[in-house]
């Protein structure tokens, strides 16, 4: 009985909060928590212009915070993360992206570590194979030099 009452109360709270959420957000608009999460995700990919290697999500600088609010406004208007990043690239150049786009010469940037690891792997493999191979006997060295005298 007590469980049933608790269940009813929980259901009533869930319905009420759902109604409240519907009242708080206009139709078609993102709920605040979702908007905030999407803003953080996009802001984390954009460099703060007045900081040293920090994103506008992490930086407390006022310009970074203003830029973050631009991101939020654009998401609210229905623009996609890629459109927002393109807006900032159009203003600040590709420098504004914390992770450079994988196009043109930037591909080298991404490929270089992979190539280095592959080449390193081949070198290590060849060295290990050489080390583990038994050394061929040499003509002038006796095979057993420490045999006990008979």
């Amino acid at each position: 009985m007590r469980l049933r009452v608790l269940g009813t109360v929980a259901a009533a709270i869930a319905v009420a909060s759902g109604v409240a959420a519907q009242q708080a957000t206009p139709p078609g608009a993102l709920p605040d928590s979702v908007l905030e999460a999407r803003t953080s995700a996009v802001a984390a990919t954009l460099r703060c212009p007045v900081c040293q290697g920090e994103s506008i999500q992490d930086s407390p600088a006022e310009l970074a915070q203003e830029m973050r609010s631009v991101v939020k406004d654009m998401l609210r208007e229905g623009r996609t993360p890629d459109e927002i990043r393109a807006y900032f690239v159009g203003r600040y150049g590709e420098w504004i992206l914390l992770e450079p786009a994988m196009t043109g010469l930037n591909v080298l940037l991404y490929a270089f570590p992979i190539v280095v690891v592959l080449v390193g792997g081949v070198v290590v493999f060849m060295l290990v194979r050489r080390w583990s191979r038994p050394a061929p006997p040499t003509a002038d060295a006796p095979l057993h030099t420490d045999l006990p005298p008979t």
Binding site: L63, E66, M67, V89, Y92, G93
Partner: protein, 194 residues
């Protein structure tokens, strides 16, 4: 065998050293701007400092970029807390005055500052010949890819950004760009009248 190893070592190290050497030739503080050559971001900003004489605008008026089409527009971002802005103030005011009545418009845009200290600053500097506008929430600054002050943008009569200047701008740079962007007949008149 040894010379082969040395050769491989040199070949492996050469690109890395070349890359580092190239890095030393670059200014790490320089941020490339994609704006020159592109249409200038539009704005509609409210005047708070009127400017002087024939260049004056009524405080509270809205200045729109599209209303300035046909003019060379000098857009200078500044702030009262910006020390370097003091160095360029006289040049900007003097050149704006020299080009009054010609198709060259100067506009100051206040960056991350309040109008009260900005007005005091203008007074301390002996006035500003051209009007200044406020940029709420730095939206125009972000639209122009600003990362500090002073920065000056010179917009051609067709409405495209022709030049971006980072740091205090000089009279020579201003005159060079205005003269080269102004319609030829008007620029000729300017040269004759000086």
């Amino acid at each position: 065998m040894n010379w082969k190893r040395s050769l491989i070592g040199i070949l492996a190290a050469a690109p890395v050293i070349a890359l580092l050497a190239y890095g030393f030739t670059r200014d790490p503080r320089e941020i490339p701007t994609p704006l020159p050559g592109r249409p200038a971001p539009v704005f509609a900003l409210e005047v708070f400092a009127p400017g002087q004489d024939s260049l004056a605008r009524i405080p509270g008026d809205t200045v729109r970029l599209e209303d300035l089409k046909g003019n060379v527009v000098v857009l200078n971002f500044w702030a009262s807390w910006c020390v370097a802005c003091r160095d360029e103030h006289e040049a900007l005011s003097a050149v704006a005055r020299a080009y009054a009545g010609r198709p060259a418009k100067f506009l100051g845009v206040l960056y991350r500052d309040n109008t009260a200290p900005a007005e005091r600053w203008i007074e301390q500097m002996g006035g500003q010949s051209y009007p200044s506008v406020q940029d709420a929430r730095s939206r125009t600054a972000i639209d122009y890819g600003l990362y500090g002050v002073p920065e000056t943008f010179i917009i051609n009569p067709q409405g495209a950004v022709a030049y971006k200047h980072i740091g205090p701008i000089t009279e020579d740079v201003l005159r060079f760009w205005i003269d080269s962007l102004m319609p030829r007949t008007v620029a000729g008149d300017t040269a004759r009248s000086e």
